[in-house]
Symmetry: C2
Subunit: 489 residues, 2 copies
């Protein structure tokens, strides 16, 4: 163990001077930190944010920017969709499970409309326009999209489908450049700054400072090679992101995504989780991950997706993140998209926010039997699958997996396949256990005095499942709670 | 939080008298505790075991008694099997993964022959007779069996198949009564007792006692309504089992097995893990579980196993614990065994250690089409699966899943199905991180002074996969290490 690895708490009695002081010290200036900063300052606290990089933003500013909101938001209504907190919870309870925390989901859904208002009051812009095509994001500045498979089987039989992916409006959006997440972070940070929130950049928090009675009193950090001691008069709030980039933690807890972090940033090294664990903080759902499936959904939906046994396993119009989870965890990270020439041509021409994910066919053959042999699938397996698919598709049906009729079309010739082995990547969803008020919980069940957390260093809404927008959703929602709790601690 | 939930450490300075003292205090008298007691005493320590129930034994004494040993043991050799530590490791590295700790596996395999000798020196009897039929255990006192699918696809292509499930001989064994696990525990406890190891029963350890410098100095327990303080001059060794019976921990970490603990005992409440977490101990593989599949393997092997889409997913001659894992985690806990009248009759007549798990057909029909409709499988799905299976079976082949030729037979009529939904149960495999010497590791990476652990309260050999005998194997192997380390701390 090097000194840098040591996350053991430092006794407050050993510190003879503080380099900075504030009522509330927030570790990380991503979505959870920004939401906490605003609410903490509004509750009257003097707030200091410590950010490891040279600027605010975190993973949020690099993200597409989906925030999972519902229950009948003005954007949902303007786009003609009906929703309610209970309908939203019915979906999340199934889609985020098994192991989903139904109490937290109910809390989140009940507060969703108020949270939408809070975001718009802070200046986050949403354009009331719906994007209904398959895809990771809208191609333009549309503000609403299905982002969790709400309108796909089996979820469309469990709750009334309503799109809940709200994306801040980025006028003149250019693929690969600043996106919706930037337009979420910018207004929140501006709001925080106007409220007097201070920020220190390029400072890396190393460990927590603890009073003899166990209360968290501050942090010790490193900046430009020097040790920096920061006192928190009321509370420390951890908002430092996931452990997707900690090789050792991923191996211990989420080995299925070892070597494949995605949609995350290198700063997500899990250290905030470690620092809290050293105080006896509890964890949950450490194996849970978001999984991106690296192909344009405009292709997936027009093909037939099979596993290494040539079997279908998910309706191809399902949310791509769920296809990713089912592929990585349940199909040995092995999938092939069977797609005929016409369908591939249509997919290549279809509008998409991710044209760089449109993938050429790996193999193209005259017959399914030839394709099966080319891929190396068990003899007869793909022929049986495509035969059964085509037979039902001729009637406009998909009795096996209930793909929506609009996407059902028999597979013709020439027939190709896209090799989708090792095409999954993702970030971790597990982390610290917190109360609904954002207090970090000890393994004994009580809050650790003076310690708060939100965002991806905590176990939030998702247990096994996921929907795009859940991370910025629970990060901002419970970031606010944690900030308020810290301010009034 | 009630006082009983509090696992926060007690300062040694607050304790004014000790009710018991020893060099090494072992929490739990199951397999890990017994192995630790023997080695600790042999290393010269005065040893005290604190056991929660009224007697020694733990889950081990109730178990079938498999110990996973190999590398060329005298029993393997006597039964005509060749094995080596590297061949054993090649199997375990794949079968225990993803996320298997290859360093620990190599260590375990390299020490396996010596461990076999140690067990026999302690008086554990093994009969050099191999049982080659499908089943959970041998029906009699045979001492060797395949217990991890070593001889099934794909494992039989990865390493030379060798049986490694060594089972202590129970003469006059009666199904449901004392089994091999009892004959493992009895000699070990007798050995420990002869070495002067003391035991106190009906005492429930509540929390750890810690010196001001962080060293673990003892435990606080409850016995007959009174508080009992126990001093450990050299070390405390935790050997208190899994968290399979902690509803809250299972929900947090392993929700797939919520409500279905099996092959475990109610004392496995995870408290030892909690007590160590309160000191900053690290965890690993908390979602991993053993999964029992509750049907006699003599039936499974003679049928065709399909999921809720009517698809096959595992060769039916695979180790039943792996079928359980694949069914619970990857097939939504949904399986049906398709079996014709003749095969069912053969299975019912076949010798088995678990006749109580022979299950009648839930549905019986004249045709597969009727059966498909009765079960409620998607139209055409089961017909396609059985059609393809029978077509290849007529040639003695299984191109899809490579079931061994001896078990391949076309499915005839009348054809039945056994409903195997919700037929999985199991115990947790995750727990405390330890060094190869049995020291409990802090999240910073260093050993927690004075604290040792082994058995199912630790993360052992298994990450995602499992083989029967791995728990008694790593519990006894690393129990010895931990006992020796504690004695010399």
């Amino acid at each position: 163990m090097t000194v840098e690895d040591d996350v053991s708490p430092v006794p407050a009695s050993s510190i003879d001077h503080w380099d900075h002081e504030a009522d509330v010290v927030i570790v990380g200036y991503g979505i959870a930190g920004a939401a906490a900063a605003v609410e903490s300052a509004r509750a009257g606290a003097d707030v200091l944010v410590l950010e490891r990089t040279g600027s605010w933003g975190g993973a949020a500013a690099m993200a597409g920017g989906f925030i999972y909101l519902g229950g009948g938001t003005p954007i949902q209504k303007a786009c003609g969709f009906t929703d309610s907190p209970s309908n939203m919870a019915a979906f999340l309870n199934v889609a985020m499970g098994p192991g989903a925390d139904e109490t937290r989901i109910a809390d989140y859904c009940d507060g969703s409309l108020e949270h939408f208002d809070w975001l718009t009051d802070c200046g986050v812009p949403f354009k009331p326009e719906f994007w209904g095509e398959p895809g990771w994001e809208p191609p333009g500045d549309q503000g609403l999209m299905f982002t969790g498979g709400e309108n796909a089987y089996p979820f469309n039989r469990i709750a009334e489908p309503a799109p809940r992916g709200h994306i801040p409006q980025m006028t003149g959006k250019v693929a690969g450049e600043k996106s919706g997440g930037f337009m979420l972070m910018k207004p929140l940070v501006e709001t925080a700054t106007a409220l007097g929130v201070r920020a220190v950049y390029d400072v890396r928090v190393q460990t927590l400072v603890v009073e003899s009675d166990g209360r968290v009193a501050g942090v010790v950090a490193r900046q430009y090679g020097e040790t920096v001691r920061v006192r928190a008069r009321r509370g420390v709030m951890l908002a430092a992101g996931s452990f997707a980039y900690s090789e050792s933690m991923v191996k211990q807890f989420a080995p299925a995504i070892a070597g494949r972090p995605a949609a995350s940033i290198e700063q997500h090294d899990g250290r905030a989780i470690r620092m809290a664990q050293a105080l006896g903080a509890d964890l949950a759902h450490m194996d849970a991950t978001e999984v991106a499936f690296l192909i344009d959904p405009q292709q997936t939906v027009r093909g037939v997706l099979v596993n290494g046994l040539g079997q279908r396993y998910v309706p191809e119009d399902m949310y791509s993140g769920r296809i990713g989870q089912l592929t990585l965890y349940r199909q040995e990270d092995t999938a092939y998209l069977i797609i005929d020439g016409d369908a591939q041509e249509d997919a290549m021409a279809a509008t998409s926010a991710t044209p760089f994910l449109k993938r050429p066919a790996t193999w193209v053959c005259d017959t399914v039997a030839e394709l099966e042999a080319e891929i190396g699938l068990p003899v007869g397996s793909l022929q049986a699958t495509i035969g059964a698919y085509n037979e039902a598709a001729a009637r406009g049906e998909d009795p096996l997996l209930h793909k929506k009729p609009e996407w059902i079309k028999p597979v013709g010739t020439p027939v190709g396949a896209i090799d989708l082995r090792a095409s999954c990547g993702g970030f971790t969803l597990g982390g610290l256990m917190t109360s609904l008020d954002g207090a970090v919980l000890h393994v004994s069940g009580h809050p650790i005095p003076g310690l708060f957390a939100a965002g991806r260093c905590t176990a939030g809404l998702a247990a096994w499942g996921y929907a795009s927008g859940v991370s910025l959703g629970d990060g901002s929602f419970y970031g606010r709670r944690a900030g308020r709790s810290a301010a009034t601690a």
